[in-house]
């Protein structure tokens, strides 16, 4: 089985693996890329890392898959930009005998790929939401939401999960402001500054990732409202954990990108060796990290976080 796409030529029998991330810019994907590189090296495999040009660059990811298949890889690890946008290319790759593993983001339907190694982003959002709500105590939430890119799969899962966890419905008056930040700190800061001008009573802040949280915090700090606003976030980068420790972010949800990448690479190598295909959704887990634990949400402290963070 397999190998039909490789053309049989090339030097030696080093297994070639492709990894296609959403972009090259997000440290999360950089962590995936680097962990995959390291894992591949230790397995004696060769890894080619490609990426889309921006969040939503389906064409770029499709081209990357096509070019990797043409190059003769055994398996492709991909963090799909949109859960359904690149299914054709994935199917063609699988038809050519390449196994495709989704990392971080599941495809829709899930069995479009051989296997998925991912965080449950919705669940991560729920954790953030629950914690923020509990930390607010009796106060009525006055929530600002610093979203990522409108329409991104992960962005939507986290956003929806947060609202579910916080017990707030979309469109409710408890949401006093929302802005798209593309997960970018500068944009997040400008957006938060402007939101605070309009709604100085904001007491809860959802952020799509830790850079957005840092940007939001800068704005809150210069407005002198640090005591008033509870900030939640998702990612688990070491900078983020550090920020939790400093009290800049109230709590963050730690993800495990290195686990996803390592398991993915190992699965491809396994397949190349004996044809065993991985399958199904493999949750790599998410963990709330905070130094201010609340009742009803299981959490770990920043010391644990600093040991398990990435980047």
């Amino acid at each position: 089985s397999g190998g039909s796409g490789s053309g049989g030529s090339g030097g030696g029998d080093a297994i070639k693996i492709g990894v296609v991330t959403k972009t090259d810019s997000n440290p999360f994907f950089v962590k995936i890329r680097e962990s995959a590189k390291a894992a591949a090296e230790s397995e004696g495999a060769e890894l080619i890392a490609l990426a889309g040009a921006f969040d939503g660059d389906n064409e770029g990811q499709v081209a990357a898959i096509e070019n990797l298949v043409g190059q003769g890889v055994k398996g492709i690890l991909i963090t799909p930009n949109s859960s359904s946008g690149i299914l054709n290319a994935i199917k063609q790759a699988r038809d050519a005998g390449v196994i495709v593993i989704a990392l971080d983001t599941a495809t829709d339907p899930e069995d479009a790929v051989d296997a998925t190694f991912a965080t449950d982003n919705k669940q991560a959002g729920v954790l953030q939401g629950k914690w923020v709500r509990a930390a607010l105590g009796d106060k009525t939430p006055q929530l600002a939401m610093l979203d990522g890119t409108p329409g991104g799969t992960v962005d939507t899962f986290r956003h929806d999960g947060f609202l579910e966890g916080a017990g707030i419905t979309e469109g409710s008056s408890e949401i006093v402001g929302q802005a798209d930040t593309n997960g970018d700190q500068t944009k997040a800061q400008t957006a938060m500054e402007n939101l605070l001008q309009r709604a100085p009573g904001i007491n809860a802040l959802y952020t799509i990732n830790e850079p957005a949280a840092a940007g939001g915090y800068e704005a809150i700090k210069s407005a002198g409202l640090t005591d008033q606003v509870t900030i939640g976030s998702i990612d688990g980068s070491c900078t983020g954990i550090e920020n939790v420790k400093k009290g800049i972010i109230g709590a963050t949800v730690l993800q495990f990108p290195a686990k996803m990448a390592e398991q993915g690479v190992q699965a491809v190598v396994q397949y190349a060796k004996d044809g065993t295909k991985p399958s199904g959704f493999n949750d790599t887990g998410s963990q709330l990290v905070t130094d201010k634990p609340v009742d009803g949400v299981e959490s770990k402290d920043t010391t644990w976080g600093a040991e398990n963070c990435w980047g």
Binding site: I48, A51, D55, N67
Partner: protein
């Protein structure tokens, strides 16, 4: 040879172009309906007419890139891989035709990609309630309407195309997301994905999208070089005042270019659904920069009035070849970006060098 030679009243035996002078005089004396042409035209084959001298640079750069990649990677010249490069170039390649037209009029279209993306969503949503052909018709209408908005603002209000299309780009992109509820829409196989269908010519397999792209190029090449409309496009872009004084309906020409670009965006939207049967409001965000790059690499002047659509095709292919070839060579995307940045500059430098040689 000095241009003054036709003034010579006496034969100048030592003057090489004298025979040409006589020839011109013969024409003057011949009956006006005779088919005598000046020597310069006689020797022009179709190929020469399609590939004009200024294209030698881009073609050279493309061939050089192909040569290098076929040497350093074993897979690059596979028919499959060549077909892939073409398929990957389809959407941006089609959009780049519209961009060429607009840049020829000394404009620029930053909205072109967003129009096509909105087109894919209109098609996908209309498909649910109507048939595929109505959906395609609706897409065409929407894309043309947006082209008309751009064109109207540029011609009637005389606003700078950069600002107009930046404004519509921003507005259309946001409107698309609202319209789509930030969702993506799957499109089932059918007429809407037709341009993604493969077929074989001998052992070479390609898609109808590639054919559509080549057709668009051929059509617009024909319109630009063989019709009065084309001359007017060059005239309007080369010197608007002179074009007006020459009695060209410059506003109408300008407006028509934006309308045609709308139609081209619709074809690109169709091809995009063929390539990825999933309408996504976040797709093709860099199409404006990518198309402009293809146009400029192809030797078209950003100041208008000079250039050709064939150059743009070559420009598109150069970018496609670079991306594919670098992947074949096992280069990671960050290094690919560095390499692409440098190679694009080199490609244009080769062009400049070739041009200075021939002029």
């Amino acid at each position: 040879m000095p241009g003054a030679i036709a003034c010579a009243d006496r034969p100048l035996a030592t003057f090489p172009l004298n025979s040409h002078v006589r020839h011109v005089k013969d024409i003057m004396n011949s009956t006006p309906t005779s088919a005598v042409v000046t020597p310069g035209q006689k020797s022009r084959s179709l190929l020469e007419r399609v590939i004009r001298e200024p294209l030698l640079g881009p073609i050279g750069a493309l061939l050089l890139a192909i040569l290098i990649f076929s040497i350093i990677t074993p897979t690059f010249l596979n028919p499959n891989n060549v077909s892939l490069i073409l398929q990957q170039s389809v959407v941006v390649g089609i959009l780049a035709v519209g961009q060429t037209l607009i840049i020829l009029t000394s404009g620029i279209d930053l909205s072109i990609g967003s129009v096509a993306v909105l087109g894919t969503l209109v098609a996908a949503q209309a498909l649910g309630t109507t048939g595929p052909f109505v959906a395609l018709g609706a897409t065409l209408l929407v894309c043309m309407a947006l082209g008309a908005v751009n064109g109207g603002l540029v011609t009637v209000l005389r606003l700078p195309p950069f600002i107009v299309t930046l404004g519509t780009f921003t507005a259309i992109q946001a409107a698309t997301r609202l319209f789509a509820g930030s969702q993506t829409y799957q499109v089932p196989e059918g007429p809407l994905t037709f341009l993604g269908t493969s077929f074989r010519i001998g052992s070479f397999s390609t898609t109808y999208g590639v054919v559509a792209m080549l057709l668009v190029y051929a059509l617009v090449w024909y319109a630009l070089s063989q019709t009065a409309w084309g001359k007017h496009v060059y005239a309007v872009g080369g010197n608007m005042t002179a074009a007006k004084l020459s009695g060209i309906k410059s506003d109408r020409t300008l407006f028509s270019v934006y309308l045609v670009t709308g139609i081209i965006a619709m074809i690109a939207a169709w091809a995009a659904l063929g390539r990825i049967p999933n309408a996504d409001p976040n797709a093709y965000q860099n199409a404006n920069l990518e198309t402009i790059t293809a146009v400029v690499i192809g030797g078209t002047s950003l100041f208008g009035g000079r250039g050709s659509v064939i150059g743009t095709l070559i420009g598109t292919l150069i970018v496609g070849v670079l991306r594919n070839g670098l992947t074949q060579a096992g280069v990671d995307s960050l290094y690919q970006n560095i390499a692409t940045g440098i190679l694009v500059i080199i490609a244009v430098a080769v062009d400049q060098f070739a041009r200075r040689r021939t002029s």
